[in-house]
Symmetry: none
Subunit: 121 residues, 2 copies
Amino acid sequence: MSRSNPRVLSTLERAGGFASAQEVYRLMQREGESIGLTTVYRSLQSLVSDKIVDVLRRDDGEAIYRMCGGAHHHHLVCKGCGDTVEIEGGAIEKWAKTIASEHGFKDVGHTAEIFGLCPKC
Amino acid sequence: MSRSNPRVLSTLERAGGFASAQEVYRLMQREGESIGLTTVYRSLQSLVSDKIVDVLRRDDGEAIYRMCGGAHHHHLVCKGCGDTVEIEGGAIEKWAKTIASEHGFKDVGHTAEIFGLCPKC
DNA sequence: TCACAAATGAAAATGGTTTTCATTTCCATG
DNA sequence: CATGGAAATGAAAACCATTTTCATTTGTGA
């Protein structure tokens, strides 16, 4: 197992808590930090599985990492500019639980995302 | 420029209007259609820019294409055996619409998937 | 100091997607 | 019918983010 390199988290914070692995890597290089791309990826993965950061996808498929508040939430994503808003998913939680138990499923989780065009786009 | 190959659209329809380029390609091959992967990608891109299909991303970054407009459904997926059940998403539709309009978003779509362990697993 | 686990990173592998380019298919015109 | 150019096609190569491999370094407890 590998633990997160703290400089990665601090760089992500400094980047506004919103950057791709490649961007974090380039940023650290530009600042003279000695680190390998592999370590950046591993640290980000570890931060994700520890729920310290959230991962989502740009339109081109590149993963972007973002510091997030603790509670489980969903995203409203703009198809135009990629802007995202964290949203509550109360209704979804109930829906998922209901449907799952109707079909006898246990140990249930879910994903949900809403996308559209934001007012600016 | 290239126009969409109609067999690509028809295959996407047959797939339930929800598949990746690779899946459409494999499906067409399995059905004996002679087509290249390049053409599948080009056709899907063209369908997207014509707003006939929508594109979004799986968690692993793979692009999935979906017919917009046609009735869509969601999936209940077993983490154990991969079995999937198609489900209605009435509650979700409303939730997505409400949340989106609260934030001034237009042209709204959504994804949602429930996963868990089916009775057999 | 010694030994062993964890961390690191360079390089190679992976895999979806895009680009290149030579070839084939269409189709309007003479 | 030609025939000439535009559009479509697809095999192979290029691309690029991400993951894996593996040899090396670092840290730590005995």
